[in-house]
């Protein structure tokens, strides 16, 4: 079976969430890989949420807000843009490929754009393959689970591990 990416989306209530509702009302069909978490404004999205989503197993994170100048709360989306530009650099530095985190401006009238964006992102993330941070965490920690065996074989009398 081909890999189905898991994408966590944070959509602002007034534009992108509404656009996703509109996509639904218009019965547009798009890939079922995205799970939307509603926030009032994209500005509520803390970079910690994005990182946490990756750490908990998301293959991609999509953040949707109102177009610049259109924020329901005047300028929340600019705050989002600024901090997410920095987050983007940090994610890159941490080895998370471009395209796994995406910020899109989708207005309440752009149901079609929800569809296009989701499909495009799913395709691109699928091409990147699984991120699987939880799996990586487990993989990384194998080296400390193996210690006991290692130490015991070297000096079996000396080591008695708590774990």
């Amino acid at each position: 079976m081909s890999f189905e990416p898991k994408i966590v989306a944070f959509f602002c209530n007034w534009c992108t969430y509404t656009a996703a509702d509109l996509a639904g009302v218009s019965r547009l069909k798009y890939a079922p890989n995205v799970r939307v978490i509603r926030v009032m404004c994209s500005g509520r999205v803390d970079p910690q949420f994005v990182m946490d989503a990756f750490a908990k197993g998301a293959d991609g994170v999509l953040l949707g807000g109102c177009h610049p100048g259109d924020c329901h709360y005047a300028e929340g989306n600019y705050k989002t843009l600024r901090r997410m530009r920095m987050l983007n650099r940090m994610l890159k530095d941490m080895g998370i490929e471009d395209g796994r985190f995406r910020l899109e401006w989708i207005s309440g009238a752009e149901g079609e754009k929800v569809k296009v964006t989701v499909n495009d992102m799913v395709a691109k993330v699928r091409a990147l393959g699984p991120l699987d941070m939880p799996g990586k965490f487990k993989e990384w920690d194998k080296e400390i689970e193996e210690l006991e065996a290692h130490v015991n074989s070297d000096a079996p009398t000396e080591v008695a591990h708590a774990r």
Partner: protein, 321 residues
């Protein structure tokens, strides 16, 4: 007279600064020595591993462990100490969150070894010899610990009861922690033993911080004549104070240098770097992507800047390769 409580000090991947900090207690150290029996302190006293191993479980009242965990030897030691000690205190930034050593989590182990033993300027190693975990020399087998693939905080290896933050922890918070332990007045397990409020609270420059920073540029300390009175962020310097736990009495800002975040975040924050970014960058001046990028370019090494002491505790833990 009952036995004095037994105390162990141990160091893992650290610079020795935390040991210095204990010595920095100055005359107070005498009070400590008077009150306790030190059963392990590799930097200062001659105890062997076997001495500790021989002790019954939970026979040590407190183990203070500093340094991050990078090798199997450190790992083995801390497991043993966890078993022998009733209370384990993670001592200092390295033990708490990886500290400076954890910056190595941006690189693969192989790349680090290759650089250190082959590519580093000044290295003369034509045979490209690398340390081995086991070497036979004249019939004897010599062993070295395994270098792990990543640097871990202490609590990523064993359970930790308390944390003393700082690089290093200041004498004041060490002393109050020791007193609390001796008096048996311990807070809930897992607590960081310094005030759960950010550094600005105790910073002398606090009042000079304008409400609206409106930063259009970031500068590094060597690029500016730092005003000794004014809020450092307001001067365009990356001061991590707002995202960093207090307790150090704003040592660095008082010394005219920005806070680099060694006390770690408050209990409400999972990821100090991410949260700092969320705060400071939300309100920079530009609105257009390219202008924003120009401001961000003022911070050439974001990971090294925002996770200087805490990359092990970054939600993502390390760079993926």
């Amino acid at each position: 007279m009952p036995d004095k409580p037994k105390v162990a000090f141990y160091w893992c991947a650290s610079c020795g600064g935390c040991e210095e900090a204990v010595v920095d207690l100055a005359e107070d150290i005498l009070k400590v020595v008077e009150a306790v029996d030190i059963v392990l302190w590799p930097v200062a006293m001659d105890f062997k591993k076997a001495d500790i191993a021989a002790r019954p479980d939970k026979s040590v009242a407190v183990a203070f462990i500093n340094g991050a965990i990078r090798t199997s030897e450190q790992e083995e030691w801390v497991h043993m100490l966890r078993r022998k000690a009733q209370v384990v205190v993670s001592f200092g930034a390295c033990a708490n969150s990886g500290g400076i050593p954890a910056l190595a989590n941006q690189f693969k182990k192989e790349d680090i070894l290759k650089f250190v033993y082959e590519d580093c300027p000044g290295i003369d190693n034509p045979q490209k010899i690398r340390p081995q975990t086991s070497t036979v020399d004249e019939g004897r087998t010599l062993t070295l610990p395994v270098l792990h693939n990543m640097v871990r905080s202490l609590d990523q290896v064993i359970e930790v009861d308390y944390y003393l933050p700082g690089c290093p922890p200041t004498p004041k918070i060490i002393m109050s922690a020791v007193q609390a332990i001796l008096a048996g007045k311990l807070p809930a397990r897992g607590t960081v033993l310094s005030p759960d409020i950010a550094l600005c609270e105790e910073c002398k420059r606090k009042d000079s911080k304008p409400a609206d920073l409106a930063l259009a540029e970031f500068k590094r300390p060597h690029q500016v004549q730092i005003d000794p009175e004014k809020c450092l962020l307001a001067q365009g310097l990356v001061c991590m104070g707002p995202a960093t736990r207090s307790g150090c009495e704003a040592l660095c800002p008082s010394g005219n240098m920005p806070c680099t975040g060694c006390f770690g975040p408050t209990s409400r924050v999972k990821d100090q770097g991410a949260k700092f970014v969320s705060s400071v960058f939300s309100n920079i001046v530009p609105k257009e992507e390219k202008d924003i990028d120009a401001v961000l370019d003022g911070i050439p090494d974001p990971i090294g800047t925002f996770y200087r002491y805490g990359l092990s505790k970054c939600i993502l833990r390390r760079k993926l390769n």
